[in-house]
């Protein structure tokens, strides 16, 4: 199963349209897609408006691959659960977000080797064809909690 999530703040039609096309190309693959409703009506997939935190965790646990916007919530969840993830940053120039921070996040996460990044629709299709279904491996993983360094610093600031 492939879990696609675009967050709950704004629609992300570019991603959903690309997934719709990919789903047409891979009819035997199961897609669970979460994105805010918008003008684009997908033909080959069902799009869920909102999923509960419990369901979100369940889909992350059960899926074989995550495709998402470059939101840190999803990226962290994927890294903790050691799930392969491809992110496509929302771009402010298409009014997909208020500013260009997702591009920065994606570039940095790509550079540090945490996630696979598709910078546009074509790259997403290309990466998906390359990976699915036999080359799906997580690029990296992290522990359940933050590193000691930030927690010690916070604790010291609270105490002293």
């Amino acid at each position: 199963m492939i879990f696609v999530t675009a967050g709950t703040q704004l629609p992300f039609d570019r991603l959903i349209k690309t997934i719709d096309d990919i789903a047409a190309e891979f009819p035997n693959t199961n897609f669970v897609v979460q994105a805010l409703y918008s003008n684009y009506k997908a033909k080959n997939i069902d799009v869920l408006d909102f999923i509960s935190p419990a369901d979100f965790t369940k889909y992350i646990d059960d899926c074989d691959l995550i495709i998402s916007h470059a939101g840190m919530g999803t990226i962290i969840s994927a890294l903790v659960k050691k799930k392969p993830i491809i992110v496509m940053p929302r771009l402010a120039k298409y009014k997909e977000h208020r500013n260009e921070h997702q591009l920065g996040t994606a570039k940095q996460m790509d550079l540090l080797g945490y996630v696979d990044v598709a910078y546009d629709e074509y790259e997403l299709v290309y990466k998906f064809r390359q990976m699915w279904p036999n080359q799906v491996v997580p690029r990296n993983s992290i522990g359940y909690v933050a590193s000691e360094k930030i927690i010690t610093s916070l604790n010291d600031f609270i105490k002293y």
Binding site: P53, H101, V145, L154, F157, I158
Partner: protein, 285 residues
């Protein structure tokens, strides 16, 4: 748990302040009668009632004698000047607007009390270094605020910080309570830059929560309710911490920049964004 030393320090501070308050009240009463004003016994009782009750209220709001505050002169200071300002304003409005009292009585009381407290806090600076507290035992009542989504997930990454502490989590989605089931949880309405009505609703509920829970530390990973928590916390003299999201790689977020001149400590999660005012100490990955 409070140690004996803490309890003693709180008691000494509270009693000496109360004594000082009454000395100031008597002094201003003395000045007023000396210059020919007559008090009825009723108005004297009224003055005592007003000053005591408003002092009680202001020390309660600003947690002047809490087990956390008494550790540091700096923290005692910032609780004191807020408590005194609030107290004098309350007294000014209660007594100043009341015809039973001579004109300028509230003003005299304000000046005398203000001077009295400045002197008492100078003494505090001299005495405090003699009291050696064990800061490892300093326990704070913490409020942790984050909006649903990435902000919340980033907050949950620093859970080891909250272990065994008195923490209340605050977010804008009720279903998140399950993710922090061992702790207290409250929801507030979300705010956005576009709607003034929503903003006011959010401010009111965040303020209400802070006054109700009276945290000594507010820590947030972001978005609007967290930023409002930082603002309100700062006004009330609460220690405030802003952790800018790891998603902000190229520059601090707009909220982070606003928090920069409000919060007591601002963290970035990227070393290249660190500056004298912005702390970097690892990230939540």
């Amino acid at each position: 748990m409070l140690t004996t030393k803490q309890t003693l320090a709180r008691l000494v501070l509270a009693l000496s302040d109360f004594l000082l308050l009454n000395v100031c009240l008597y002094a201003s009463y003395h000045f007023a009668t000396k210059y020919g004003f007559n008090f009825t016994s009723h108005s004297i009782y009224q003055a005592i009632l007003f000053t005591w009750s408003s002092w009680l209220l202001s020390t309660y709001i600003f947690r002047l004698y809490s087990g956390y505050t008494i550790y540091k002169v700096k923290d005692i200071y910032r609780a004191t000047w807020r408590a005194i300002t609030f107290h004098l304003l309350a007294v000014y409005f209660l007594i100043g607007a009341n015809h039973a009292f001579p004109a300028n009585f509230a003003l005299t009381y304000g000046v005398v009390t203000g001077l009295g407290f400045v002197l008492s806090r100078i003494m505090c600076i001299a005495i405090m270094p003699l009291v050696k507290f064990n800061f490892e035992k300093r326990e704070a009542n913490i409020m942790a605020i984050a909006s649903v989504g990435g902000h919340w997930i980033e907050l949950l990454r620093i859970m080891p910080l909250f272990k065994g502490k008195n923490v209340t989590f605050v977010s804008n989605k009720a279903s998140l309570a399950n993710t922090v089931s061992d702790y207290k949880f409250h929801t507030v309405p979300d705010a956005s830059r576009s709607s003034v009505y929503k903003l006011v609703k959010c401010i009111v509920s965040v303020l209400g929560l802070i006054l109700f829970l009276r945290p000594q530390v507010i820590i947030t990973t972001g978005a609007a309710p967290g930023l409002l928590g930082i603002f309100i916390g700062k006004i009330l003299g609460i220690k405030t911490i802003w952790i800018d999201s790891i998603a902000n790689v190229d520059k601090l977020s707009l909220s982070g920049l606003i928090a920069l001149w409000t919060a007591d400590k601002v963290y970035t999660q990227w070393e290249h964004l660190a500056s004298p005012k912005v702390t970097y100490s690892g990230n939540i990955l």
